[in-house]
């Protein structure tokens, strides 16, 4: 089946089986920031933004996403510059092995775009669907709160 996707503002068309998972198709298109960590949908390493909502791309068939707009961690970078959210992660030592990182970024991006009053509590709740084994979440939470500040200051896109 033909599937058209707009990924990070570029259009792609692929021909896939109905059972092809969105995560596999996006990775085949070269977006390897999207990671596979499990099959029961709990780890969140495959999170992307689809049509304005963070979703786990391993729980979506590519055919369901036909015509969708997708944003990945690669797409946060603009003109070679790291997105303020990515900068916040780097500045706050929120990255260790990096496997959960892109998924965390996309969930955080979605959360920050929809939340006015960011607190430690609601940040923690927001990333419940992104498992991390390396960081204990401590610096990730700091980074997201820092990013919220940057957004308030108008450093955002």
């Amino acid at each position: 089946m033909k599937v058209r996707l707009i990924v990070n503002r570029k259009e792609y068309e692929v021909d896939v089986e109905p059972r092809a998972l969105l995560v596999d198709v996006l990775r085949d298109l070269g977006f390897t920031s999207i990671h596979i960590g499990c099959e029961d949908g709990k780890c969140g390493a495959c999170t992307v933004i689809m049509n304005g909502y963070a979703v786990k791309s391993c729980q979506v068939f590519a055919v369901q996403a036909h015509g969708s707009t997708i944003l990945t961690a690669e797409g946060l970078v603009r003109d070679g510059e790291l997105h303020p959210l990515q900068k916040a992660f780097s500045d706050n030592f929120a990255v260790q092995c990096g496997y959960c990182t892109p998924g965390m970024l996309m969930t955080a991006y979605d959360f920050l775009s929809k939340t006015d009053n960011v607190s430690e509590e609601n940040v923690r709740r927001a990333i419940v669907g992104n498992l991390c084994r390396c960081t204990g979440y401590v610096n990730i939470v700091k980074a997201i709160i820092d990013a919220a500040e940057r957004k308030k200051r108008g450093e955002w896109w």
């Binding site: 089946m1 089986e17 109905p18 059972r19 998972l21 596999d24 099959e39 029961d40 949908g41 969140g44 999170t47 909502y53 963070a54 979703v55 786990k56 391993c58 729980q59 979506v60 068939f61 055919v63 369901q64 036909h66 969930t107 979605d110 959360f111 709740r125 927001a126 990333i127 419940v128 669907g129 992104n130």
Partner: protein, 287 residues
């Protein structure tokens, strides 16, 4: 892990979806948000030959929250996120928003639907006891007819509902909670996990006198269980802590054989039904 091969259909209208169901019946599964269905297919626990995607093109038609004839009507494809952020729901039927808040995680709530959750009927799902407590009406449609199924009759067994193989859930109708106190208490091992036990409480109150009570326990038995004996203790009485305790103990006594699995033992679920009911009732009285 990846799913087995299937044929995919993305009908343009509800009628088309229904006629596909007529055609394929038991060989087909309806796909909404996919947050329950897709993991099962990936682990090859189920291998449907046909997938009927109602989400893709029917989302607009089947996703809404509106007030009609004094009740709230929620389209089956309304997502948990849409429910928990809906001003209408938060104002008029807040217990539904509370249930939605506890489901899964941020990503799941973005795409998972109320209809999908109700039809999947996992015993530990958050909406199930709420639907029963609210006496929700489920509007169900097939190619030939439409019918309303009461929530108390919808859930038959673990992941089994009154939905016939050729039917789709169209909408859920819930009452407005003006004049009601409500309580919703849940035990989860981690945030976002399936509930080990849920106590849902609705009290129609007039100056602390309980005109009617609904106590429904979820997560402890294959389908949500209404605790009628406990409700009788409260109805018609002026509620206080002592009465609440009595009702909670009655819940414990009534829940004779809760489920036991690796998540929790039967005894624990039973004990939690009591503890959570007490808390839910206390909150309902306050609010």
């Amino acid at each position: 892990m990846r799913p087995a091969i299937f044929e995919y259909h993305a009908p343009d209208t509800v009628e088309e979806a229904l006629s596909l169901l007529e055609m394929y019946g038991e060989e087909a599964k309806v796909l909404a948000g996919g947050q329950s269905l897709i993991p099962m297919m990936k682990m090859r626990l189920i291998k449907p030959n046909h997938i009927i995607d109602v989400y893709k093109k029917l989302k607009k038609e089947l996703s809404y929250i509106k007030e009609v004839d004094g009740k709230l009507r929620v389209g089956a494809l309304t997502t948990h996120y849409e429910i928990l952020t809906s001003d209408l729901v938060r104002a008029k039927c807040p217990i539904l928003a509370k249930a939605a808040e506890n489901i899964g995680d941020w990503q799941v709530r973005n795409i998972g639907t109320v209809g999908g959750s109700l039809c999947h009927a996992d015993p530990a799902a958050h909406y199930l006891p709420v639907a029963v407590a609210l006496d929700a009406e489920l509007l169900v449609r097939s190619s030939s007819k439409e019918r309303i199924v009461k929530a108390s009759e919808f859930f038959k067994d673990v992941m089994t509902t009154a939905l016939l193989p050729n039917e789709i859930l169209i909408e859920v109708r819930v009452p407005k909670l003006d004049g009601y106190g409500w309580g919703y208490e849940v035990i989860q091992r981690r945030s976002g996990d399936y509930a080990l036990c849920i106590s849902t409480v609705l009290l129609r109150l007039k100056a602390k006198v309980c005109e009617s009570a609904k106590i429904v326990i979820g997560g402890a038995t294959p389908t949500p269980l209404e605790m009628k004996n406990a409700e009788k203790i409260l109805e018609g009485k002026k509620l206080d802590e002592k009465l609440i305790d009595e009702a909670a103990v009655k819940v414990y006594e009534s829940l004779a054989r809760p489920m036991s699995d690796i998540k929790a033992s039967a005894e624990y679920r039973r004990e939690m039904a009591k503890v959570l009911t007490k808390r839910a009732l206390t909150n309902a009285l306050r609010g």
